[in-house]
């Protein structure tokens, strides 16, 4: 019994440290640690003529990458602005488009080939 406790305690300790580290990462990594967020590159995928997630919330200064997984082409274009704030070229399968959001706000966008495809980026 004594021997077993001796074996268990380092495991428990390791697990506790790991959980603590994960929490620290969740709190600081997502909300305040911009470098970590940028390294993860929050993304929107295009599958079956839909943007997913349809609404994505990010921190100011983050870049978003859209990736087209469909076999048809799509595009990503801001609804508003003249000229529009961002507009991709036609994205073929596996093509990506990135944009960095430097100001807080809610940004609506759509696919210029299939305008029923719409999405929203909330920048905080």
């Amino acid at each position: 019994m004594k021997r077993l406790r001796f074996l268990l305690s380092p495991l428990v300790l390791t697990a506790a440290v790991a959980i603590l580290a994960a929490n620290v990462f969740l709190v600081f990594g997502n909300l305040s640690h911009r470098d970590a967020a940028a390294a993860e590159m929050p993304g929107v995928t295009i599958d079956n003529y839909q943007f997913a997630p349809a609404t994505l919330t990010i921190a100011v200064g983050s870049s978003i990458t859209w990736t087209n997984n469909d076999s048809d082409i799509h595009s990503v274009a801001a609804d508003d602005g003249d000229p529009v704030m961002f507009k991709s070229a036609g994205l073929d399968t596996d093509d990506k488009f990135s944009f960095t959001f430097t100001k807080p706000g809610t940004y609506l966008y759509h696919c210029t080939l299939h305008p029923h495809m719409t999405g929203k980026i909330v920048v905080q």
Binding site: N48, Q50, S71, I73, D79, G90, H114, P115
Partner: protein, 309 residues
């Protein structure tokens, strides 16, 4: 077998197979008495039209996915069919999505292939031809057109109107013609006698085929209201890569097959993405259309022919 507008009774297996064959090669249009009817290309002889023209659509040069890795080959087959059609079409209407990605090299490759028809080709752009805001398209096909590329012309007493409904998409909305084009259209037809047969062609359907997938045009009703006084109006569209038709009063609507790849029937799949069929089935859903017009007779005769027929 060839009259699309005549309901068939007693459908047998042969009939079903011939219907399937429509799903892909080309359509011959015969304008007889001002009303276009489609016929299978091989049967257009019987129509004896005084004007015959062909429709080709959605060639998507540059597409290279599983649904058809070589659309240039199937487009070449479609062009060969049009060239071989009897009677020989006076000209060809291309109802858009010439290219897949609006690239200059794709437009040039398509033009090289379509030269094989040996007659004039009248184009309208598809949304795939407008990814660069129409620069490459207009360089090649914009001469003599108005606005974003709309125009009209006359042939054998039939008035042809090319409309553009792939510009200025608004989020969440169907495509539109826009007020400038509508004003032009109203003026364009104002001096015509009501007995003039009208053929309208545009890429996206000018009727609400399936709005959930963007298969319709927001302001098409206004456009059609300018054509309401004409005895015969035929509307030819592409975009949905399959033959669908509808008759509403004096207006007959027809969509055409693609020469590149098929798309699902409206609402039949999660999305309108390209349908991949077994390789030996592909040519049964690709095709062209020929139309023949005979003065003094009633409808235009349409022939939809697949590449496999």
């Amino acid at each position: 077998m060839t009259k699309l507008l005549i309901p068939e009774t007693g459908i047998n297996r042969r009939r079903v197979l011939s219907c399937m064959a429509w799903a892909g090669a080309g359509v011959l249009w015969t304008v007889s008495g001002g009303v276009p009817r489609s016929l299978l290309i091989g049967d257009a002889d019987a129509a004896g039209g005084s004007l015959t023209f062909a429709q080709i659509s959605d060639t998507h040069i540059g597409f290279n996915k599983d649904a058809n890795p070589h659309p240039e080959n199937t487009m070449t087959e479609a062009v060969a069919r049009i060239r071989a059609a009897k009677p020989s079409p006076s000209f060809v209407l291309h109802t858009g999505d010439i290219t897949h990605l609006s690239k200059p090299g794709q437009f040039d490759a398509a033009q090289q292939i379509i030269k094989g028809v040996g007659s004039d080709v009248h184009y309208v752009p598809g949304e795939h031809d407008w990814l660069d805001d129409g620069v490459a398209y207009k360089q090649r096909h914009g001469a003599g057109t108005k606005g974003d590329g709309w125009y009209s012309f006359d042939a054998q007493g039939v008035h042809f109107i090319a409309l553009v409904n792939v510009v200025g998409f608004k989020a969440g909305a169907l495509s539109s013609l826009g007020s400038d084009q509508l004003a032009w259209l109203k003026d364009d037809v104002s001096g015509l006698s009501a007995s003039t047969p009208i053929v309208v062609f545009a890429h996206i359907p000018l009727w609400a085929v399936y709005p959930d997938w963007g298969w319709g045009t927001q302001d098409s009703a206004e456009a059609l209201s300018y054509l309401g006084r004409f005895g015969s109006v035929t509307v030819l569209n592409g975009h949905i890569h399959q033959v669908l038709q509808k008759v509403e009063g004096n207006v007959a609507f027809h969509t055409a097959m693609s020469t590149a790849y098929p798309q699902p029937a409206p609402g039949a799949a999660a999305s309108p993405g390209p349908l991949k069929l077994p390789a030996d089935k592909l040519r049964t859903v690709l095709g062209v259309r020929e139309v023949a017009y005979v003065e003094g007779q009633q409808p235009l005769a349409l022939t939809d022919a697949t590449l496999s027929a």
